[in-house]
Symmetry: none
Subunit: 231 residues, 2 copies
Amino acid sequence: MKILVVEDDLSLSDVLAFTLRRAGFDVVTAHDGLAALKAWQTANPNLVILDLNLPKLDGMSVCRQIRSQSDTPIIILTVRSGDEDVVKGLELGADDYVVKPFSPKQLVARVRAVLRRADATPATSTVLATAHLSLDRSRNEAMRPGSPPIRLTPLEARLLETLLLNAGHVLTAEALVDAVWGAEGGDRAMLKQLVYRLRSKIEPDPSQPFYIETVPGVGYALTDPDADFPG
Amino acid sequence: MKILVVEDDLSLSDVLAFTLRRAGFDVVTAHDGLAALKAWQTANPNLVILDLNLPKLDGMSVCRQIRSQSDTPIIILTVRSGDEDVVKGLELGADDYVVKPFSPKQLVARVRAVLRRADATPATSTVLATAHLSLDRSRNEAMRPGSPPIRLTPLEARLLETLLLNAGHVLTAEALVDAVWGAEGGDRAMLKQLVYRLRSKIEPDPSQPFYIETVPGVGYALTDPDADFPG
DNA sequence: CGGGCCGGTTACAATGTGGTAACAAATCTT
DNA sequence: AAGATTTGTTACCACATTGTAACCGGCCCG
């Protein structure tokens, strides 16, 4: 996975590059808008992290340019908080945004969430599975051995996918909301709702969940017989 | 939990160390930038509290250095308020900052908040244990060999976590209250209550506690068969 | 011997959280 | 355009969690 980081503050750019590399990504950097576009064309990254105020060509324009030619996921980096800049960035087609200051962990989490969402879309023959349960991501169907496939709605499928990708681990409500709805929209109450709907489809006895475990005050986890002992 | 305090003002440094130790942390101190880096490498702390103006190597550089090699949480300590220094520190990857002058309680609260945020995220081995008892912090479950897991409430889990982190050592009531409830809220009476509730869940015979020992007039301690014999 | 302090225990109220349900708005199908 | 599906919204209930107070018994100390 290759990430293009566009940030004019060199020290911050370094920190970002370091953090992302340590998280296992390839990183390319650019420090102004024009260089960003050039780098984007030559490096063809899977995701762009984009500061909004840049020399030579501002972030908005870069975002618009990239969006007009592809649907590479874009995460906007902005110091201004809580106002229309953010909204505008998202309107331009950005997939998420992070407001400075932010912690490295937070950024990596967002990057992962966006990438997961992005490559979940295409109808590749993605089948995720544990011993008990599998999900055909191209058809949005959940299957249990010996039972007919169950049709899921897109949101339900994304939720189950996220749980499946972390089978055996507890995911916080916040992480799940992020993974399913992204930065905008999404809410603990809606997650509750969605979990309920998913359970009522895949749990043989919804009143006593077998697959989706609740961890009160924390979140949910998918039961995995092959749960990995720490390593 | 080990904390590295980097502060050149010796009297302040002493106060910090004392405060943090009383709150149940291990503390290592350094008084200039170079010593800080050295101490960081050898002590490998879970969190760094970092003054910005230091002799020999300034705080910014120390921060950048540490950040370039790990994501140990960093809290910046600064006397300058409300200007870009703080922002810059945060951009370098610090996780929080505290402006002097500050109250010890406030600092401890920030430290706890940052630590909680830091280790709430990953799927690291969130299992603490002694020979008799272990705690899965991600699920808030206590386990005794041969018995099914016991579900704990968030507060109970935090209490047990604190005890477990200092297994074999006596913790004062005050330290425990601080650890569980943070700077605000919390009360000796509530601790009594919480200890009772935790005991009734994990002690086979609550009337004769085996795990959680009471030290009258002082606090509580968790029994640890591997308590540190000197060496 | 009696009072007061301390910790354990019990009871209860206030609050929070998750599960369930019903309904409206938006979207997709046909 | 009509109907079905999906999603967002709200409300409600049951129960868990937490905070608060009171009570009891031992123990120290005068």
